[in-house]
Amino acid sequence: MKGPASTLAVLRIAFVALVSLSLLGFAIALGPSRAARIAGAAATSVLVDGFAEEPADHRIPVIDLRIAQESLDSLNADLPWSGGANKRAKLIEHDVEHKVRFRYRGLYTPSHFLGGKKSFRLSMKRSNPWAPYRKVNVINPKAHNLVNNHMAAWVAGSMGVPVPMDELVFTRINGRDIGVMELFEQVDGDFERNRHLWAKAVPVYKGDFPSVEGRALPKGRTLWADAAHWEYSSNADSALAHDKLVRLVAALRMDTMPIAAHRDSIAALIDVDAWLRYEAALLVINTTHIDQYHNQWLVLNPRTGRFYPVLWDALMLFAPPGEPLYYVNDAMSWWTMRIPEWRLQRDRYVHAAMHRLHRKGEFARQLDDVIERIRPSVLADRNKFGNVTLEPADVHRVSLLHVIGSIAGLRSGTTAHWEQTLHRLERAEVEVTRGAALRIRTGSEVPIRLQWSDGPQQVLVNGVAETAASTANGWSIVLHRTLRVKDGGKDHPLADKQSFVVAPLDATIDFGGAIPASLVLTNAVTDEPIE
């Protein structure tokens, strides 16, 4: 019969026309590339995720929240400005209703407040399902780097860097699945108490953008320019801590004092070992998301009276690949690079961590573990959101394929970064000329250690007297490398996004006689002998 067939054909044509018009409209409005990406994401979301029926039980914690609809409405009314008011909510765990306060968080990044998976903060009573933690952030991890921040915390924590508690969770609000999110501890005065290290609150400073007032995003402040740019985030008495912070900021100021004076002043106020681990972690994670303006925390260790940093919002692989070995995140970072023995220790931490994480496979094992745990929840998550284009406003539903792609990207990205960095830290191609004195030349980037047992302790390095350090097997000196600012850069602790490059080494070492027969050259970072 002709009637129904022609009707069907008309409907089909109309449908195709509608889709084409819609694509055309979006292509005109957003540009063809963005429209195509969004359409692709939508299609894969529907087609691919639809196959994931009845996923297994969640293996990650489930955050089950109940909030009055009018409270949610008022928070949603004028985002991002309306989201900051705390509302009463209930966190359900094992059928028990825990009273909590709920608010949205994340004004600066649209992925936090656009879409259906909005980042929020919970403030809880002392006895709560996440005890000892009382304040936690639950953020949209975005499908394109679902586990990056979580893994960054794990990696840095494994390097001995203080990190917030960080867990991937599955969130439900008012019985509706919101999906996989990242829950992490809000750093505050309880940081040490939460780790069963100290019984009371400790002083904590937050280095971040200023609080929002009105409807404008405030400009960032250069944190190390003034102690007042740091926000106190603790109930502990701040008098002593503030004095130390003021002194630390002063110690980071460039002046005519010798570098050793700065080094000693900084070392009296900050836990240098903790800081060097932190600096090392920034390179291992390859992030520049921690900078002169934000994502910094300082906790005053009550046992040492010195500050230590907390890694925050590091976003693994945030930096483009192939960054210089000595990127300057902030003023502390600038001084760390300026002090050769600190820089060397940082590099040693970097090498040890990359060796363990990459060559020994720890990172892959942990990542496999994380994937295994989140798999059912990711399959159940029909609310995956992420930036599908580079435009911040494009927060759209994406699919399982994006998650798989992001994790594969994390694997390949870390492998590439670590291989490259390990290669740079392990490469020690040295040209040695033996004459009356020893001449060492290299274009590699690492410092060179000289060790001998049958010569004098005092030597001349490029004509300058240097006393070798005593070791179990004799004497040792390190030929540290000279750093210079990359072309066009500013060599100042408060300058933005600077990096140092390593100048070639050409050193002459005069032992005051014959070159010791026992002389051994090693890569000072890896301790590998140099042939």
């Binding site: 094992h94 825990h98 915390a153 924590g157 069963h196 290290l197 070992d273």
Partner: protein
């Protein structure tokens, strides 16, 4: 259109088909072996569907016959317990056999549908301050099996039973009941004052770096730095440190039980421990995992903590192997105990379900726990994992002052160093203080197992706040005429404690010691409450000693072992003079007195002990001459009690016997009462005693009794070692 030739299926055919299906099901569930029914079914048939059919068709079993105890919780009309989903406490009325009082109840935060019931401190429920109730099914019997296994392995664990809960006027069904582990629970198990802690094992969790103590400050102060140092040493290859921080036997037992319960995922769960301050050891305990906890595959990495590190210690591994072997050998007997539990509880727990099918199902549970296949596995191999200290550990431990000590290859050097510092000398493995003056300027820990000898004429002066810990035999060889002195270096500032901490095998023999000017101390995560503290000695003998003038809790505190105190004077303590905990032995011809007015303590305080006191004198004590508590037994004979607040007091399930004593000028000569509500009342038996000018001869509370007897029986005499 063609007409269909198919016949119409009539009602009879439908009926026949249904009857045939029913008959087949009946036959299967009536005649099939229940063990087969409880196995794996194909086509996605679930066990609850099988159970439903079994209860419908199965006619051969007995119907449920047992009756559990009923707990009634009644509430205000608008405050029904079952409707309250809040996390806080609310007040209700609780009734059980022989008990009825108002209680506070809250939802259990770690298991769906459970409750915690808190009883008043002064009116505990059958000596329990808290109980936990969780909805029970037949599978709750697994918790009972695990309790039996914990008992077999010698672990401290709460008893599990099943009760019927009536709440809000309705039968809420069966609940699993267990005592909550709290400080009262610990005290009843000989861990009075121990600090309760949980330990998780997840490498990414900063809160799992150290044990989470209920009272953080105590653990932080004494234990956390020590643990931090131990973990550093362990990471550097010292795998033998842990037995000095964690009680090896319960640690091994807990590892075995966790393996039985969770297999390779044993460390996915938090574990409970109590830190025993008197020994400086963590004591692992068993608490069943909450129902519904997800059993995840073991994590790639495990936190290096006290329990996980224990598994790396060869001595503890050996204990694990031994316990595992023993469990295998005793499995038949354990199954008998399981069977007894099945007989007692299954008829109650079945509640309308097929008893034989449920029996078969529980047989499977038993097989999973200690069946031959389960026992063939190797827990040590199965629990092997990479131990790490991640989550920022390396930075967090900066600045921790860890003055801890554990035996090592440098012990001889340490001993030589001590000798050099104090001017004592080393003879063999013994540190000897001959006649002379010795200054101990700071905390001093004598290496493990090394004896200390003090010869007559030795005078030890200990600096303010400093303590001495001996971890081997102690021999003080003074005489009445030529004593050994231990004094404060600064008379105005007391030293801490002179403590001996043994492993239950050492001897302490102290003669002719004159000691004063101390208080109490913390050293090596051990709290010594006595100026002279002796913990964990097999035998302690004090003769011709004068111990006086302490500013701490006790002048002398002995924990554990046999004691003999003879011809000693104990005087002028800040609180108690002599405190004997968990001891057996005798106090003979000793004088307990208070010459200063402000001291407020007992002369002899006996807890969980059996002590004979003969020919002693107790005078002018502002509290009790003798205090007998915590289920102790004491016989006091031929002694004098003069001018004390109380002469002889029996408390808390203790029994005191008094014969041939003289009580003069005391406010109360005899008293018996319940002091700690988790214990019961006491009993005091009076034989022939002389009482003179006491304000009150005797006083007993409603829980206790003081009785008069004529003759000290032979049996009683022999119980206290008298001829």
């Amino acid at each position: 259109m063609s007409r269909s030739n198919s016949r119409k299926v009539g009602a009879l055919a439908w009926l026949m088909a249904a009857a045939l299906a029913a008959a087949a099901l009946f036959a299967v569930f009536r005649f099939a072996d229940p063990a087969r029914l409880t196995g794996e079914w194909p086509l996605g048939i679930r066990s609850n569907e099988v159970d439903a059919y079994a209860s419908l068709f199965e006619l051969r079993s007995d119907s449920s016959s047992g009756k559990p105890e009923r707990y009634l919780i009644s509430s205000d009309p608008d405050g029904c317990l079952m409707n309250d989903r809040g996390a806080g406490w609310s007040r209700h009325w609780f009734e059980a056999d022989g008990y009825g009082d108002s209680v506070t109840v809250r939802r259990l935060r770690t298991e769906r549908g459970g409750f915690v019931v808190k009883f008043k401190r002064e009116e505990p429920f059958r000596a329990q301050r808290h109980i936990v109730l969780t909805p029970a099914s037949v599978h709750g019997l697994r918790a009972k099996y695990l309790e039996i296994l914990a008992d077999e392995l010698g672990l401290i664990t709460p008893e599990v039973s099943f009760v019927r809960l009536i709440a809000c006027g309705l039968d809420q069904g069966l609940y699993l009941k267990e005592e909550r582990i709290d400080e009262d629970f610990l005290e009843k198990r000989g861990l009075a004052g121990a600090a309760l802690a949980e330990q998780g094992h997840t490498t990414g969790r900063p809160d799992h770096l150290f044990p989470s103590f209920e009272e953080d400050s105590l653990g932080l102060f004494a234990l956390t730095p020590l643990l931090a140092r131990a973990y550093t040493d362990a990471a550097a290859g010292r795998a033998d440190v842990m037995p000095y921080l964690i009680d090896a036997r319960p640690a091994a037992s807990l590892i075995v039980l966790s393996w039985v319960e969770h297999g390779a995922a044993a460390f996915n769960h938090e574990h409970l421990m109590a830190h025993d301050w008197s020994r400086g050891r963590l004591v692992p305990m068993y608490r069943r995992s909450r129902a519904g906890e997800k059993e995840l595959p073991p994590a790639a990495f495990r936190m290096r903590d006290a329990l996980s590190s224990a598994l790396a210690d060869e001595r503890i591994r050996q204990l694990v192997r031994e316990r595992w072997l023993k469990l295998g050998e005793d499995a038949w007997r354990v199954r008998e105990r399981f069977a007894a539990m099945d007989r007692a509880w299954l008829p109650i727990l079945c509640e309308g379900q097929s008893l034989s099918v449920m029996q078969a199902r529980m047989q499977r549970v038993q097989e999973d726990l200690i069946g031959s296949a389960a026992l063939a596995a190797d827990p040590i191999a199965g629990l092997n994992a990479a131990l790490t200290r991640y989550a920022g550990s390396a930075s967090h431990t900066a600045g921790m002052q860890a003055a801890g000590y554990w035996p090592g290859t440098d012990d001889a050097m340490i001993l030589d160093g001590i000798a050099k510092r104090t001017k004592a000398f080393v003879r063999g493995d013994t540190l000897v203080f001959p006649r002379g003056r010795y200054i101990i300027a700071s905390d001093l820990t004598i290496p493990y197992g090394h004896a200390v000898v003090m010869e007559q004429g030795a005078r030890i002066e200990v600096a303010a706040g400093a303590s001495v810990m001996v971890q081997g035999p102690l021999h003080v060889r003074g005489t009445k005429r030529n004593p050994v002195f231990i004094r404060a270096a600064d008379e105005r500032a007391p030293f801490g404690s002179f403590a001996v901490v043994g492993d239950g095998t050492i001897d302490v023999r102290i003669e002719g010691l004159q000691m004063s000017g101390g208080s109490e101390g913390w050293i090596n995560a051990v709290r010594a409450s006595g100026m002279l503290a002796i913990h964990g000695a097999a035998r302690t003998f004090l003769n011709d000693c004068i111990i006086s003038g302490s500013q701490g809790e006790d002048l002398l505190n002995i924990k554990g072992g046999e004691v003999l105190l003879r011809d000693c004077i104990f005087e002028d303590g800040h609180a108690d003079l002599v405190d004997l905990d968990r001891c057996t032995g005798r106090v003979d011809k000793c004088l307990f007195r208070n010459t200063s007015g402000d001291a407020n303590g007992d002369g002899l305080d006996v807890s969980a002990s059996r002590i004979l006191v003969t020919a002693c004198a107790f005078s002018r004590l502002n509290d009790k001459g003798i205090s007998v508590g915590e289920a102790s037994q004491l016989l006091v004979m031929d002694s004098r009690f003069e001018g004390n607040a109380s002469g002889l007091v029996a408390k808390d399930l203790s029994v005191a016997y008094a014969s041939g004593n003289r009580f003069t000028g005391n406010k109360t000569a005899f008293a018996a009462y319940r002091k700690k509500p988790i214990y019961g009342g006491a009993r005091l038996v009076r034989y022939a005693n002389e009482l003179d000018a006491n304000a009150r001869d005797e006083h007993a509370d409603e829980y206790s009794a003081i009785v008069q007897e004529r003759v000290l029986e032979e049996k009683l005499r022999s119980m206290f070692g008298l001829p």
